[in-house]
Symmetry: C2
Subunit: 343 residues, 2 copies
């Protein structure tokens, strides 16, 4: 939950005058997003989200994020879209921070995801990967394998404060993953090259909205970047398919992967590497949570997320032999099981 | 800012089925109110606030609070109103807590109040005092003079941690105020009896909404109670008429009091006692802030408000000789200065 920056009505009205969005009726800070300040705005014309980008977001990345929302929406993905100012710009400045006015997306994120939600999420993730094709901008994934050791170096000294032995366990895992991680896509189209493109990189339940059982859209593209598409699936398996007690729910994994393959079947090389990528995704969230856990001062206004949740997930992945351990079925079979052609 | 209790969509939809308010489109936790959890809800019919009452609110008080909103709105005050369920009840249960669905009030609270805002607030406060007449329920003010010493007893040991000498200063002031405080209204209508009735008791800027310069309504009646009407004015002087540097702004004081008297002129007895009541109001907020400051654990998700802001205000009040020190003018003169008859 987060509202880091308060905004005066005077400043907000001055900002809105640069847009064609009617006059201000109300604005309320909302408790969503941990990186930025978000307001829900009502004007005489419509409802909007106003985002103020706080210091953890690099302003140089904003054209990528905002341009991506435009590109994805133009290619049929339901997601919020930046509202353009009268002068055509999508970015403004408010209270000394970069700010964007974004269309409001109805729906609520599922607090208790079901297999039906997971299937929808798989479909939407594949749809996003396809819709990302042709996006002109590029953003490296700062939180992929090359980013893990620098992060680890800042947390390793104190890791055992969180759990005795954690330091050695992470060190060994990181070393293994660095050695085994697939090389970045070289641009050649050889048979075993892994497909790369735009990934969401943070597709947790709070970033997927539903109205009833129907997925109404994806939000929060502020970790989006270029990387292996199957790595996004690895992240989603971690984010959606474990129960609160740490158990992997194979039914949910199967639903998520079936959903994904109904729109974009995995290549054999992707299927082979999925367990490794899911394992890397668990380490990535373990490392960032550990770093935040150790770096967050006690009085800070954020909820600290437990790093050990991801240690438990990592240990599960270490025991997975191949992608069928997550419920992956050949695409043809998964389509058959769903009783639908790819729609 | 606060969302203490998260709500699942399933539970929320089940709740909404008891009301005639359409189907759920979205709900977002909002960063307003420090006592309760609040969600902004959009349904196919309208926009609402959903409030979950957390443990600092006594459930026995809820019929008073919700009934008061109904009563005030029925008597012409613009304020949120509880939405009735199909079975006629205004109170529900959600996530194990008492919960109410409340109408949404457009407007934004003024971050930088001007004298024009203060005049409107004065008018609205008088209007609320008049609209409260005839409300059948009664609620003692737990935070009036009888409540201060029990609160002080829980904080006095550690007061000097906040500022050396604070303990002795508060002790002396509390003793003086206990001796000088007007007796509770006895029900007789003698000439010098102080008018009592329903007071808001927490009319700070974040509880008053404006659209532009126009006051659009009052919110947050969860401290409302029966007490001296002029005490509410003492609270409002503290809440609205001091600058960030601690200086009392006489222009704002005059505007607030003129605005109030344009709808409800003070009696001579009220004018006489106003400095004492404003001083008591400063002590009341000093004590509750001090208590919260000392009691709040370092990791808690609330912003701690500085008690010393109210020590500075208290010291100002100690030097005020009579109500003209706040800008009080005879009601006839204030009406003349405004160039309007009471409207």
């Amino acid at each position: 939950m987060a509202v880091y920056t308060d905004v005066t009505e005077e400043d907000l009205c001055a900002l809105l005058a640069a847009y064609d969005v009617g006059t201000l009726l109300s604005y309320k800070g909302i408790a969503e997003g941990v990186e930025n300040s978000n307001y829900l705005l009502r004007t005489s014309a419509d409802t909007f989200i106003l985002t103020l980008y706080e210091k953890r977001v690099n302003p140089d990345d904003l054209p990528f994020f905002l341009g991506l929302m435009d590109h994805l929406a133009a290619n049929g993905l339901t997601c919020p879209q930046p509202i353009r100012r009268r002068d055509g710009a999508a970015l403004s400045t408010l209270a000394g921070r970069p700010a964007a006015l974004i269309s409001f997306l109805d729906g609520a994120w599922p607090r208790k995801p079901t297999a039906a939600h997971c299937r929808e999420v798989g479909r939407a993730l594949a749809r996003m990967h396809l819709a990302g094709e042709g996006f002109a901008l590029h953003r490296e994934n700062a939180l992929s394998v090359e980013g893990w050791r620098p992060l680890w170096n800042q947390a390793s000294d104190r890791a055992d404060e969180v759990e005795p032995g954690l330091g050695a366990e992470i060190e060994a895992e990181l070393t293994r993953l660095e050695a085994a991680w697939p090389a970045p896509p070289s641009g050649d189209a050889s048979a075993d090259a892994l497909p790369a493109g735009i990934i969401h990189a943070d597709l947790f339940p709070d970033n997927v909205f539903f109205i009833g059982e129907r997925l109404s859209g994806l939000i929060d593209f502020y970790f989006a970047c270029n990387d292996l598409l199957a790595y996004d699936l690895g992240i989603a398996l971690n984010a959606w398919c474990f129960e609160a007690d740490g158990a992997f729910n194979l039914t949910k994994g199967m639903a998520l992967l079936d959903g994904y393959q109904s729109r974009r079947p995995l290549t054999p090389a992707e299927s082979d590497v999925l367990p490794l990528l899911a394992r890397g995704a668990a380490l990535r969230f373990l490392l960032t949570r550990l770093y935040d856990w150790l770096a967050t001062p006690p009085g800070a206004l954020v909820v600290k997320k437990d790093p050990l949740e991801y240690l438990r997930k990592l240990r599960f992945h270490q025991g997975v032999q191949n992608a069928s351990g997550y419920g992956l079925r050949p695409a043809a079979k998964s389509r058959q099981a769903q009783g639908t052609s790819s729609s």
